[in-house]
């Protein structure tokens, strides 16, 4: 893990601070408050505001009379999010190495671990700093990759093409310019090309020495902060007075978001041609990238992080309570999760809310056993879920991830639905409250053991917000298996959410998926996933506009992506 700067150095207001206010409104107004725009009629439509551009910038209105910049989006005051520099994650570094050096070369050395303190990896990448040891590890890893590359020279076209005849062979500068651009995601300046090209000649004047020099050159390009870090500085946008991502920065933002890798040559060319300064050009590239197989992993990664499934890798289940928990089962759960998402988004381009409400899944033998359903055939096959199961919401992966190591946690699960699906803020627990469960009640179903959460007015003021939601999932145990009874009693799954009664997870999911703030929440989460930034009040109008357009496009996740990348919240930044 890397080092972190103190939290206090963050400048922007956290989304949850803003939404927290709403949560209190919810608490004191019969939980009817919503976050975001509930209306469903606006102009626009389609994917991302073609022709909407008022005075310079699609969807952005600038009113000189409003004082200050007076920028609005969707009739709400707008300001861009602060864009912090990213440190490439290990997966990104690894993908880029393979993209640029081919599949005979790979990142094998250890590097400093990604920062995983926040919900999304991108948030950690935007705040982490590298320790001295971490810098040393980058050096080792870079030399290792460079050494592999030289050993595989004939398999790497651009490297095979440059076997310099002298220190000043023109192929060196060309290689630095070409490969440097792929690695650094922007063209190198002449001075940079010269500085790097000059490394080759330092090792000696014969061919063998120059090859050593080539190794140092490649290792240097890979160790450069220009490679390891992705800075978002932007450039002034005259029409709006804001800072807009440069074309190359947009290329980086798009490729890290959609491919978890660096931009390819075509994306860099689009940036160089100025096409990424316009919404149309951004959408054209984003559509192309979405059609690439690599985009599939993006959807799984997004939901895994947002729904805490990625945390399962480090979690352990107590083997004395869950002897059946195994890495193989976790892989099966993750396989189901991935297959369902790919089916909804890529096979059928269906309503993304099916992740909440779907009645079918793809199960292998291990998943089927966990759910107590029958499947025939090998690998993952289409199967009907049980009547009380609902989409991925009740999937083994999600239920196991949102639970303790020895039992379920209705509180965690309820808070998960509130925070990650509805973007409601849940107030922090009160001070000085004994939160331990009474041992004497150990033989009662958890719902009864947690009764005090709902009957004691002090507890209930908060727990009423999430316990009734979480208790709906009690038919799924701490490792995600279906069960019909607990402590010898049939499990009760009914409850209420925002004063609306439901009888089981499907009823709950139906209610949640109907809420306009669910669509807004998804857009907001995706924006954080893509930018690592903190979405605040000043982006509310822009996020709502993205959600509204996606709603009009039948809640297509692909359309959501296209609407998002066209949004002013994605394109404009505030410098850190």
């Amino acid at each position: 893990m890397g080092t972190r700067l103190p939290k206090g150095t963050r400048i922007t207001l956290r989304t949850r601070d803003i939404v927290r206010a709403c949560a209190f409104v919810m608490m004191f107004s019969s939980c009817q408050g919503t976050v975001g725009n509930t209306g469903d009629a606006t102009g626009g439509g389609g994917t991302g505001g073609e022709g909407a551009g008022a005075t310079g910038g699609d969807d952005v209105s600038v009113s000189p009379s409003a004082g200050g910049t007076g920028v609005t989006v969707n009739q709400k005051a707008f300001a861009p999010m602060v864009a912090h520099m990213f440190r490439l994650t290990r997966e990104q570094l690894s993908n880029i190495v393979t993209d640029v050096f081919g599949n005979k070369v790979s990142l094998t050395k250890p590097i400093e671990a990604d920062e995983t303190n926040e919900v999304f990896l991108a948030e950690g990448a935007a705040s982490v700093a590298t320790s001295a040891r971490g810098v040393e590890q980058y050096e080792d890893a870079a030399f290792d990759v460079a050494t592999q590359a030289l050993a595989q020279r004939s398999a790497i076209a651009w490297l095979a093409a440059c076997q310099p005849k002298s220190d000043s062979d023109a192929c060196i500068a060309k290689l630095v310019a070409d490969v440097g651009q792929r690695l650094w995601r922007r063209p190198l300046t002449d001075a940079e090309v010269r500085a790097y090209a000059s490394i080759v000649g330092l090792s000696g004047s014969d061919a063998a020495a120059r090859d050593v020099g080539m190794t140092y050159l490649l290792a240097a390009l890979l160790q450069s902060p220009n490679f390891i870090y992705v800075a978002f500085v932007g450039e002034p946008d005259d029409a709006t007075g804001m800072r807009r991502l440069t074309g190359y920065e947009m290329a980086s933002r798009l490729s890290l978001f959609l491919w978890n890798s660096g931009p390819d040559a075509e994306l860099l060319a689009a940036a160089g041609a100025g096409k990424l300064d316009e919404v149309a050009g951004i959408n054209e590239q984003a559509a192309r990238m979405l059609a690439h197989p690599r985009a599939r992993a993006m959807v799984t990664k997004f939901f895994s992080e947002s729904w805490k499934v990625s945390r399962l890798n480090e979690a352990s289940k107590d083997p004395s309570v869950f002897p059946d928990w195994s890495p193989a089962l976790l892989e099966s759960y993750k396989g189901e999760f991935r297959r369902v998402l790919e089916d909804i988004v890529f096979e059928r381009d269906a309503d993304i809310r099916e992740v909440l409400t779907g009645t079918k899944t793809f199960a292998d033998a291990a998943v089927a056993k966990a759910y107590g359903i029958n499947v025939s055939g090998n690998g993952f096959v289409s199967a009907n879920l049980r009547a009380s199961q609902s989409g991925l919401l009740t999937s083994g992966a999600v239920m196991a991830a949102n639970a303790f190591s020895q039992r379920t946690s209705p509180t965690q699960r309820g808070v998960f639905v509130r925070e990650q699906i509805l973007c409601d803020e849940v107030p922090a627990p009160m001070q000085g409250v004994d939160t331990s469960l009474k041992e004497a009640d150990a033989n009662l179903p958890l719902r009864e053991r947690l009764a005090e959460h709902r009957t004691n007015p002090v507890c209930a003021s908060c727990h009423a917000l999430f316990d009734p939601i979480g208790l709906a999932f009690e038919q799924f145990d701490g490792m995600g298996r279906y069960r019909s009874t607990e402590a010898g009693k049939a499990i009760e799954t009914s409850g209420t959410i925002d004063d609306e009664p439901f009888s089981d997870p499907r009823g709950l999911a139906a209610f949640v998926s109907r809420q306009p703030r669910t669509a807004t929440c998804l857009a907001k989460q995706l924006l954080t996933f893509a930018t690592g930034g903190e979405v605040g009040e000043k982006q509310e109008g822009a996020v709502e506009l993205v959600a509204e357009r996606t709603t009009q496009a039948n809640h297509s996740f692909k359309k959501l992506v296209l609407n998002l990348v066209a949004s002013p919240a994605f394109r404009f930044i505030e410098k850190d």
């Binding site: 893990m1 080092t3 972190r4 700067l5 103190p6 150095t9 963050r10 400048i11 912090h84 520099m85 440190r87 250890p110 400093e112 982490v128 700093a129 590298t130 320790s131 001295a132 040891r133 971490g134 810098v135 040393e136 050096e139 080792d140 030399f143 290792d144 050494t147 940079e192 500085a195 790097y196 490394i199 330092l202 090792s203 000696g204 014969d206 063998a208 020495a209 050593v212 020099g213 190794t215 140092y216 290792a219 240097a220 160790q223 450069s224 902060p225 220009n226 390891i228 870090y229 800075a231 500085v233 922090a428 627990p429 009160m430 001070q431 000085g432 939160t435 410098k575 850190d576």
Partner: protein, 471 residues
């Protein structure tokens, strides 16, 4: 690796070649793994063996922290007698051969803070802790990880910065648990020094960094090329970092500044290696063959790993590759299972909760101390000047709690091993009269020549040492 240091001979050959220290140290960067001969540093010394020949300056001093999580069993920890004629208690029995170097202080306690292992770690290793209060289910508890003062090892490393190629070497054994690698941190607490958990990786880092050079041999000329190339690359990289920083805002600039600092320390370590005296022979250990030590829940081979780690670390210290280390045996809330101590089923943290003062826990602590004793034995067996390396070393050993079951610091375990050049009263058990534990830490830091005037932060700070152990 052979435990060559066990032999009493002053010169123990572990390989056929004896090569100049300068060459060896560069070889460490040049990708050539060399086997060389002991003893260490002798040729650097004057004829009396008590000062450096080149400068007449004193021999280097070394400082280390040995940290384990989970406290102690007091019955097995506190010796029955005080003074020099004390019988080693059960937990420390394996220090028998190093007893003359062991100072154990009991009866001292840390100043209370809110419960919890994280502030405890801060208090036990830096006499400071993050004052931010947790907001989640742990309301009212100090949970922040940013300790305002550096851990003791980092405090000394800060004072000795630039004296050796590696200012501080952190190594770790038991890695299972939420807080592994959290016992060494720089001032301000934002930069944790992560512990190297693999003997293999530690070895490669210190002794066989595989950098390419022309040709296939190990002649100094070739290695010069590698060093020159590496320096040139570092120059270019520093230029990149500086240029990029100019474009960034405040926070990101600080993040990149930390990266630049990392580049500078690689550069500094190259320069130090180059300027090290010539004509000194120094021994590189054999590369460790064993790579897999199992994980924390099954038959994790802690002792095998610890022996390799101690062997490599001892050579690094003797060769003056580093003067400060952090040896994190385990962290607080360790999830390792001590099958070696006949403790099965429950992991260490679970044993401490409820069975902290049990025989089972005493067996665990004895096992940990046995491994600590091994490290000190290795240092003692490396001759240096008229004595051995442990004569000019001080290792402070402690845990984050005294009784981790109750999360308290009452009668805290405080060990000092080594003579720090004669500055500590070694070979004694001193039973305090309720003094505060940080005084011992204060004395330890001063003993190795770092003249702090205060240790810890705010009202916790101490400004004087525990005089009973000073001399």
């Amino acid at each position: 690796m052979k435990n060559s240091g066990n032999k009493s001979s002053r010169i123990v050959s572990v390989g056929p070649k004896v090569i100049e220290r300068r060459t060896f140290l560069r070889g460490a960067f040049g990708g050539v793994s060399l086997s060389l001969g002991l003893p260490l540093l002798d040729a650097m010394l004057n004829t009396n063996g008590d000062a450096l020949a080149a400068t007449g300056g004193p021999l280097p001093m070394r400082f280390g922290v040995f940290h384990w999580g989970g406290g102690v069993n007091h019955k097995a920890w506190i010796p029955a007698q005080t003074g020099a004629n004390f019988a080693l208690p059960d937990s420390l029995k394996d220090f028998e051969d190093s007893k003359a170097y062991l100072t154990t202080v009991t009866g001292l306690s840390h100043i209370e803070a809110s419960p919890g292992h994280i502030p405890a770690r801060g208090i036990a290793l830096s006499n400071s802790h993050d004052l931010s209060v947790c907001q989640g289910s742990c309301v009212g508890v100090y949970r922040g990880q940013a300790m305002p003062e550096p851990s003791l090892d980092a405090l000394v490393a800060e004072a000795w910065k630039g004296q050796a190629p590696y200012d501080l070497l952190p190594v770790g054994i038991c890695r299972k648990g939420p807080y592994a690698s959290n016992s060494s941190w720089a001032r301000g607490g934002t930069a944790y020094n992560r512990h190297e958990a693999s003997p293999q990786a530690l070895y490669e880092r210190l002794f066989s960094k595989p950098l390419p050079a022309t040709g296939s041999g190990g002649s100094p000329g070739v290695l010069d090329v590698a060093t020159k190339m590496r320096k040139s690359v570092l120059d270019v990289l520093k230029g990149d970092a500086t240029a990029l920083m100019a474009k960034l805002g405040t926070t990101d600039k600080r993040r990149l500044e930390q990266h630049l600092e990392g580049l500078r320390s690689i550069e500094a370590s190259l320069a130090i290696r180059e300027s090290m005296p010539t004509s000194v022979s120094c021994a590189a250990p054999d590369a460790p063959a064993k790579k897999d030590f199992g994980d924390g829940t099954t038959k994790e081979e802690k002792e095998a790993k610890s022996i390799l780690m101690s062997d490599i670390l001892a050579v690094a210290i003797a060769c003056d590759l580093t003067r400060v280390f952090s040896y994190e045996w385990s962290a607080n809330q360790s999830q390792s299972i001590y099958w070696e101590a006949n403790s099965t089923g429950q992991h260490h943290e679970d044993v401490t909760h409820g069975k902290s003062q049990s025989d089972e826990h005493a067996r665990i602590i004895r096992f940990i101390m046995k491994n600590f004793a091994y490290l000190t034995r290795k240092l003692r067996q490396i001759p240096e000047g008229a004595g051995n390396v442990l004569d000019r070393t001080l290792i402070f050993g402690t845990s984050e709690h005294a009784d981790a079951g109750d999360h308290n610091w009452t009668d805290h375990p405080l060990l000092l091993v080594g003579k720090a050049g004669g500055k500590v009263k070694a070979g004694v058990h001193i039973r305090g009269k309720g003094e505060i534990a940080p005084k011992v830490m204060f004395s330890a830091v001063r003993a190795v020549g770092v003249n702090i005037t205060k240790l810890g932060h705010a009202d916790r700070a101490v400004t004087s040492g525990f005089t009973e152990i000073e001399q």
